[in-house]
Subunit: 159 residues, 2 copies
């Protein structure tokens, strides 16, 4: 063999960029799954999946809203929300009623049980905080960075 250097494959920037652990998207993707797995046992006690929990969070802040509104707040479309909301309705946590003013609109409102579940849900965030092994400050700072990234990505999609 003449020289080792001849055998060494040139590592271009493009090669580096294709490495799995260089990808921020994979970092985000795998962290989302990790969160999901941490949330699961907590949410099982509430009888909710994580996306259902997100819908409930949104409704606890403001309910009697169209499906469209929820979709914009959660970045989800009707193809995802319609069946999910039907399951929440079957669980008697929400009511779905068609608006009288505009019959295209379905309004989502909390039931008594849906309201009541909020109290049980209060224990969830602190459990997650503990699992993250971070301070509130660290998490908030990180959250702001991630949201900024998300909003830039969504801005590109809107073009």
């Amino acid at each position: 063999m003449d020289s080792m250097t001849i055998m060494v494959r040139k590592q271009t920037a493009a090669d580096q960029a294709l490495r799995l652990d260089n990808q921020i998207c994979f970092a985000v993707y795998s962290t989302a799954h990790a969160f999901n797995r941490v949330y699961k046992p907590l949410l099982d006690r509430l009888g909710l999946t994580y996306p259902q929990y997100l819908v409930m969070l949104a409704l606890w802040e403001r309910d009697d809203v169209p499906v469209k509104d929820l979709g914009e707040r959660l970045f989800l479309d009707s193809g995802t929300l319609t069946p999910l909301l039907k399951r929440l309705e079957a669980a008697e946590l929400i009511r779905r009623t068609r608006s009288t003013e505009d019959e295209r609109v379905v309004l989502i409102a909390l039931t008594q049980q849906g309201q009541a579940l909020r109290e049980k849900a209060k224990a969830v965030p602190q459990s997650i905080l503990a699992a993250s092994d971070c301070t509130v400050g660290e998490l908030l700072a990180m959250k702001d960075e991630i949201v900024a990234l998300r909003d830039r990505l969504n801005a590109v999609l809107g073009e």
Copy 2:
């Protein structure tokens, strides 16, 4: 009305923590979806979905590996990977062969076409970089923070 203060609902820490936009998990979750939507048109040209692209990235680094190996690198289990890998096999990008040494193991290897696709994929990361509207340095720093968070979450799950 006696006093406004009586009417103001006391905002406890628990209430604050339940706000949708205070949740880092929602930030991560919604950013993952935003990435997915940005990747979609790029990956369509390669004939891959995002999870399939992740599998290919892993295989371009090291192939002839058991399904289990892939699962550990991508944090996915056989319930997700088996059908996904069958689709990649149908697309003739990979081969699935049962190991002769241990017949429980299915080894995943790239085909010629699977290898070749790597060249086409090189254009993807730079497009994502552009869409993120961040510098490489910013993204790498953020990636490291997110990965650290993910690893702490996964550590809790492992207990």
